[in-house]
């Protein structure tokens, strides 16, 4: 009995020490937060995200985007902070107004894009600044964690453009296989393996000035493609005749992915005629190699297995 009570006593003592230490450690962040942006008290996760923001690192505060006072006196937060030109959460329609205050050129370009055109028409789900750059965690473009980083750009566009439900909001339907078909191109294969000079979405479709390929002012309008592909940093000095450049990169590349290739009936006849080559060669070649590889490897691997198995029956072959 004495043994038990003594051990209980000692463990109790440790427990108090533990509680005190825990309390001290809990108080540290709470105490240090007092010196920081006052919004931290309630909007902890948001402010934590904001601390990774490139703007935070050069001295921006919540008030610079959300308006209101930058006063940090905790006792009068609600009165002080949310006063004056406090705008709260910007809507998808007016978030450009916030960014426009500094990023004039980018916003000017963005406002000519199809994304902005659709937002103005009432499709609020069309992309705006925050969809590509992040909301509170806006990082510099060169930061590998930025969704707008060259490496991450395809995935960022695919967030919406591979989303069937979202894309079907447009009556004509926007193709959702764009990322998959881009993946068939050499550009992606190189990008995926860390080769950064190759083109991603924004290099051909423009980042802020994105337009539909049917718009004559678009960088992907067939007549403009030679210029787009022939950019100084890409394939300069290469003569793209109109016919070559008219090629829809995505549709050409998608020939190689099983789905479209083996379901040529679903293809636009014009595209099929041009890109399958004469007599639908691409289609037949792909089928030919599928059969050839399967049969050759199948037959010979079968022979190897037979050879191997037969050795158990015949202990000594020679």
């Amino acid at each position: 009995m004495a043994f038990i009570s003594r051990s209980l006593y000692s463990s109790l003592k440790k427990k108090y020490a533990l509680i005190v230490i825990t309390a001290i450690f809990l108080l540290i962040p709470a105490a240090s937060a007092q010196q920081d942006v006052s919004c931290y008290h309630c909007h902890t996760p948001v402010v934590t995200e904001f601390r990774n923001n490139v703007h935070y690192k050069i001295g921006f505060t919540c008030a610079d985007c959300h308006g209101g006072s930058i006063e940090t006196n905790a006792s009068v937060i609600s009165y002080n902070v949310m006063s004056g030109n406090f705008i709260g959460r910007p809507t998808r329609l007016n978030v450009t107004m916030v960014c426009e205050k500094c990023h004039i050129e980018e916003t000017k370009n963005y406002k000519q894009s199809i994304h902005w055109e659709q937002i103005e028409k009432g499709h609020l789900e069309a992309a705006t600044c925050t969809d590509c750059h992040g909301i509170h965690e806006i990082r510099a473009i060169k930061d590998p964690k930025s969704p707008s980083n060259h490496q991450n750009s395809p995935a960022t566009c695919a967030k919406c453009h591979s989303n069937t439900e979202l894309m079907s909001a447009w009556y004509y339907g926007i193709k959702t296989d764009r990322f998959d078909t881009y993946k068939e191109s050499f550009h992606w294969k190189a990008l995926r393996n860390g080769y950064n000079v190759v083109a991603t979405c924004a290099d051909c479709h423009e980042n802020h000035l994105t337009k539909a390929h049917t718009d004559p002012a678009s960088s992907t309008y067939p007549a403009n493609l030679p210029m787009t592909c022939g950019q100084t940093d890409c394939h300069p000095g290469v003569k793209f005749d109109a016919k070559i450049a008219a090629g829809l990169v995505h549709d050409k590349e998608s020939l190689h992915s099983g789905d479209l290739l083996f379901n040529k009936t679903g293809m636009n006849p014009q595209i099929a005629a041009y890109y399958l080559g004469p007599f639908d060669l691409a289609y037949w070649i792909a089928i030919f190699f599928k059969i050839l590889t399967t049969s050759v490897i199948g037959i010979f691997a079968g022979m190897v297995i037979l050879d191997f198995v037969s050795r158990f029956k015949m202990q000594k072959r020679w």
Binding site: G194, K290, M303, D307
Partner: protein
């Protein structure tokens, strides 16, 4: 009458002392052929290692291999260099055997014949335990298939590879659609060749209990008498007959 080419036989006593009296070697490949094969091995391996990460860019090992060979740009350089090496090898091989080595094309023992089809069937039956092992001459049907498979593959890979290496120059001469076809042919044929070499060819020359750990013919160019009797009995008989004739003639 076709004049039979002599089958080269060399005794080991000429090569290394007299302690292996009586052991004879049969010349399988000339030094020229051996060097061709070595260059082929080197360029093929390099091409597979640097090419497959682009065929399967999403695989986990793809960036690993690219990192090992020193980045994507280095990968491309290596792939192009090895590719050019293989193109030169192919041209050399065809030129040599067409114009320098003046053996008549149709009488070459590498040409496939009807016997090969029979041997193919007999081999399967042999594996199933229902027939004798077929007797091969200089080249078995497996070796002929290896050779012509590689021949066809080389033509495919070199032509499409050059198109892919200079796509914008190629576009001046052929429609864009064909450049795209080259991608399909190049990668699919590459996969086929890789699988075939790693599974079938390596089984025949490395893993098979008959030759394990490897058939040294690719290093020395020679076959031992025992190997010769077992793997190429018809050629062995022919060689023996020629030797007897030679000794009869000379004496």
């Amino acid at each position: 009458m076709v004049k039979q080419r002599l089958i080269e036989v060399s005794g080991s006593q000429k090569l290394a002392g007299d302690n292996k009296m009586g052991e004879v070697f049969f010349k399988r490949f000339t030094f020229n052929q051996l060097v061709q094969h070595w260059i082929m091995i080197g360029s093929f391996m390099l091409l597979v290692v640097t090419g497959m990460p682009v065929k399967f860019p999403d695989a986990w090992w793809s960036p690993v291999i690219i990192g090992l060979v020193g980045g994507f740009e280095m990968r491309t350089t290596l792939h192009h260099a090895a590719g050019i090496g293989m193109v030169i090898l192919g041209i050399y091989h065809v030129t040599f055997h067409l114009f320098v080595d003046k053996e008549s094309l149709l009488e070459r023992k590498i040409m496939p014949t009807l016997t090969d089809a029979k041997d193919f069937w007999q081999t399967i039956m042999f594996y199933l335990g229902k027939a004798e092992q077929p007797k091969y001459g200089r080249y078995s049907w497996k070796e002929k298939f290896d050779y012509w498979g590689a021949f066809w593959g080389m033509v495919m890979m070199c032509v499409t590879g050059l198109v892919l290496m200079f796509p914008f120059i190629a576009m001046n001469f052929i429609p864009f659609a064909y450049v795209h076809l080259a991608t399909i042919i190049h990668t699919d044929e590459a996969l086929l060749a890789t699988l075939f070499i790693f599974i079938v060819h390596w089984w025949n020359v490395h893993y098979s209990p008959e030759v394990f750990p490897m058939s040294k013919a690719w290093l020395t160019g020679n076959l031992s008498e025992e190997q010769m009797k077992h793997e190429h009995p018809l050629e062995y008989e022919e060689a023996m007959r020629q030797m007897q004739e030679n000794t009869a003639n000379s004496s």
